[in-house]
């Protein structure tokens, strides 16, 4: 079957199996940030943006994606760069396997809602599973990123992130 997909801004026409899923197409075209974690549509590792909406690429038949725009982490570097340092500073990427899916979904969250509350963040990211961290570090780092934007503070990772936030932005009991 012939499909044409705009993958990260590049138009790709390829002949593929009818039952290929978008995930395999992305990986075939060297977007290795898209990972197969669970194969049951639960883990969020395979998240990509389809026409700007976050979807599970493991569950999108390739025919349905044909003629549409797909963005993976490879194409979202600029947007991701803004908060990925905050992620690293909080240790939110311990093994790093869930990170690409996480970041793609956070990009979608911030496009939809530039100033989410903690509750909204947790709700939006509930479809991304992380087996290392327990989700607190992701929440803290995102909170730090949002705060740093608000106060128009210079991007000083040491001062903004390390320790300074404990008991301030995020009250952990």
């Amino acid at each position: 079957m012939e499909v044409t997909i705009t993958l990260n801004g590049k138009k790709i026409t390829d002949s593929v199996d009818a039952d290929m899923v978008l995930l395999d197409f992305c990986r075939k075209h060297k977007c290795f940030s898209v990972k197969r974690g669970c194969e049951t549509g639960n883990c969020g590792l395979c998240s990509v943006l389809l026409d700007g909406k976050p979807v599970l690429s493991c569950s999108v038949p390739i025919g349905r994606a044909s003629g549409r725009k797909v963005d993976t982490l490879e194409g979202l570097q600029e947007e991701a760069k803004k908060f990925s340092d905050f992620f690293a500073a909080q240790g939110a990427d311990q093994c790093g396997f869930c990170n690409p899916g996480y970041i793609v979904n956070i990009v979608a969250l911030l496009r939809e809602n530039p100033d989410p509350t903690d509750e909204e963040i947790l709700e939006y990211l509930s479809g991304n599973l992380c087996r290392c961290t327990g989700y607190q570090s992701q929440l803290r780092s995102l909170r730090n990123y949002l705060n740093s934007k608000k106060e128009a503070a210079p991007l000083d990772l040491e001062a903004e992130v390390y320790g300074a936030d404990i008991g301030r932005e995020w009250k952990h009991e």
Binding site: D19, K53, P54, V60, R64, N105, G127
Partner: protein, 270 residues
């Protein structure tokens, strides 16, 4: 993997219907549940091009296309203003945003899944489904249709006859399948409670005796007990029947309390 051998984007409902008559072909929904199947299919029929992903509203009803995603149900303003956020509450615990962007209303209903949150709220609201050949059916009739029926679900129609609806569910773990789902609606004909994930398909229990004509602590208690008595509960890996019966009473009571509180709030405003 071997999900299916061919993929067809139907250009009309009639074409899709024709293709679907063959036993090994199937209509794609979100493909979230179908892909768990091991045995491969023949042809996958995609209805993406038929414009079924719209929610339309007029004075009488909401018309929700079969390809509307669960996320759209969650974020649609008209629908959630009308139900005071009950639709958002019903789907927001389902896995995650990415999942809900893929999952479709049509797929959720057509599968007639016992665990379906969506089925529960639509049943309480007295929704109808429009099938391509069988026409418009009450959801109550639709769920009794044999599973082998080869028809195409085009849209779901929610008549604007609901005065209030509250949705609640119980889960062992957030984003898991529900242990019990419950939607209580005040319709023009009276109160109705739909309880699902029992783990059987959602069922309606009507307040036929008019227990709730006068709402107070006692009548709420009585109605909750009646609902729990009439529903058939079963056990599975998530919970036992006895536990579900207790949870059911609690959820029905909470839902009724919420309806009362919302009503009172409105009266004060007036």
């Amino acid at each position: 993997m071997g999900y299916f051998n061919q993929y067809v984007r139907a250009e009309s409902l009639e074409e899709a219907y024709g293709l679907y008559q063959k036993k090994n072909n199937f209509v794609l929904g979100g493909m979230l549940w179908l892909k768990m199947r091991k045995r491969p299919f023949g042809t996958a029929i995609d209805l993406s091009d038929l414009g079924l992903d719209q929610i339309e509203e007029d004075e009488k009803e909401f018309r929700i296309g079969a390809y509307v995603s669960l996320r759209e149900l969650e974020t649609n303003e008209a629908l959630n203003t009308y139900t005071k956020g009950a639709f958002a509450e019903s789907v927001k615990h389902i896995v995650g945003v990415q999942f809900r962007n893929v999952a479709t209303v049509g797929g959720s209903l057509w599968g007639r899944y016992g665990f379906s949150d969506v089925m529960t709220i639509f049943r309480a609201m007295g929704a109808k489904v429009q099938l391509h050949h069988a026409g418009i059916l009450d959801l109550d009739e639709f769920v009794k249709m044999p599973r082998k029926t080869r028809d195409i679900l085009v849209s779901v129609i929610v008549p604007k006859k609901v005065k209030a609806v509250v949705y609640l569910s119980q889960r062992n773990q957030s984003t898991d399948f529900p242990v019990l789902t419950c939607a209580v609606a005040k319709r023009e004909e009276g109160y109705v409670a739909a309880v699902g994930a029992t783990p059987h398909l959602a069922e309606n229990v009507w307040d036929k005796e008019g227990i709730l004509t006068e709402i107070n602590e006692e009548s709420i208690e009585k109605f909750a007990a009646k609902v729990a008595e009439q529903i058939r509960f079963g056990s599975n890996m998530r919970a036992g029947a006895a536990y579900r019966r207790i949870v059911c009473q609690v959820l029905v009571k909470r839902a009724l309390h919420t309806i009362v509180a919302e009503n009172n709030g409105e009266e004060e405003k007036c």
